[in-house]
Symmetry: C2
Subunit: 358 residues, 2 copies
Amino acid sequence: MINVIGIGQNINTMTLEAYEAIKNSDIIIGYNKYTNEISKLIEGKEIIQKGMGDEISRVEMAISKSIEGNKVALISSGDPGVFGMSNVLFQILDKYNEEIEIKVYPGVSAVNYASSLLGAPLNDFAVISLSNVLTPLSEIEKKIEYSLKANLVLAIYNPISKTRKKPFRQFKKLVLDIKGEDTLVGIVNSEEYPSKVSIVRIKDLLEDEINMSTTLIVGNDLTYEIDGHLITPRGYVIRSPQHPLSIDFYEKFLEGKSPCGPDRECEFYPCHYDGQCCDFCYCPFYPCGDSSTGGRWIKGKNVWNCKDCLWIHDEDTIKCVKEPLEEIIESPEDLEKKKKTLLKLRRACLLNNDPNNL
Amino acid sequence: MINVIGIGQNINTMTLEAYEAIKNSDIIIGYNKYTNEISKLIEGKEIIQKGMGDEISRVEMAISKSIEGNKVALISSGDPGVFGMSNVLFQILDKYNEEIEIKVYPGVSAVNYASSLLGAPLNDFAVISLSNVLTPLSEIEKKIEYSLKANLVLAIYNPISKTRKKPFRQFKKLVLDIKGEDTLVGIVNSEEYPSKVSIVRIKDLLEDEINMSTTLIVGNDLTYEIDGHLITPRGYVIRSPQHPLSIDFYEKFLEGKSPCGPDRECEFYPCHYDGQCCDFCYCPFYPCGDSSTGGRWIKGKNVWNCKDCLWIHDEDTIKCVKEPLEEIIESPEDLEKKKKTLLKLRRACLLNNDPNNL
């Protein structure tokens, strides 16, 4: 029997069943770095350590020891299904006549660990390895390009090695070209314990700061940073009473009597910036609770403050929001009742997706 | 202090540190289904259970209990960073004046668990939720489309609910249109323990078979099925002595004396199919060990059998492989010495990526 065991990122993140399975194994097979991590747990057992790159011989060894009747633990760091031992084992398994019982123990993968240290950077995401030892660079580049264009958060494994720098440079170039120089990148370096965590802009991401023990998480178009945390908003509904002036405004809006473009007659114009459009004097999405456009909570007051969010006064925004909004709301109360649909409309316009397909 | 704890997919896949943190907490806050999963562990503690959808109130409760001085465990299934409690918590946190200590405990996410039960379906992959409660359908569709076009393995969370069928139908349509009706899909349904596991073609994926407790894994262009396992080859080098006739062939190839197109003069023509091209009478990638093109191991013999792989005799394949191969090998021995580069060339041509950018 072969137990393919993911030991997570360190012994604390190992699962209960992985711990038990290792304790109950006769033979432990793994790369030195990973067996050292669990050295106390495997004291007194037969330990076969192989260097990195010897994946095939580790798998062949596990199979032959299993055929001899041993309970074998084949160790992977992280999750064995994510660039770990599972794929090699299952690819080779078919070679053997013998029935070999296999159980895979999933583990905490680097993307999950890095995310836990950075705050909450994930939403829909892609995991891509930059190792081009057996994968063509053209394939890796295509995957990165499409993930960025789809606005997926992007987790990068194996970003660089001493002899392999080109994929990293191409990755950086693609992020700069497609997302822009201010794209946020979380860096988690687990060479030593505890891991080193930092957040930079892609333009400031340096080769010297990363190595094979680093995981990178590239934020999407909504990701922002607050107090050293990387946060990608998933969206949620804040229940909040409507301001009477907003109710008045949307009554006029629904009658087609609200302003179009800059309202220079208004005594408060320009409340944000000269040239601003006043079609939505009151934001139909207030309070969105999403800091990615510049809004913030007033600390301790439970009040959402849009002072630094100019998005709703932008001409393109208004072009995108106006017609669908007229379809969605029939009265000012719908701004509360249909909040979920409205937040989707906001998100569609923010990310240049179709506002009529929510 | 708030511990945001991912409990994995069931108590066996909980991490050691999550287990300890729950034991050491004063107050447990979580959705009923998840707190039931760990009921023995939390006996005697204050337990605050909230129904699904009450994420905000769970987070607000955790914050206020923490401010009162309690050690609070805020429970997520799987990993709290993947469509879990982390994002809501960090989004709201900024509202409070008080300094609140937070630690996130990563967990085994559904994609890792599903992969462990299916075999080894992952390589580079994307994780996408089909829930369009707060995310526009147009955004979800775009992410799916780009992931499929980039040949990422695709893990689908929250595929369907009783009232939300449209995103699933759109997802299925996109896979059919972009990848074709025979695309392999792994289904892991964890409504009950143990989970139900099956593998189907996308054309046979039925709505009735899936629910909110299901994770789907859509294979990429290389994914294949053997003995009930879903396997995506990651590539590995098999060391194998070269056949003398292959050495002869590649000596002629390098002198420009090998056949072009169908070699009807050959006494064995057609060894595979009428019309086959004989430019590579011997496959330059033999043995590739990759069943995705039809090759298989002869069980118990350690011999790779290409009988059912016709790919190298295809005109398009030859057009892609020939020139780069002439650049890579200078002598027949290079077929062994430069095996890694050759496997990348094979993969580039197989997936229609640039064979000159490896």
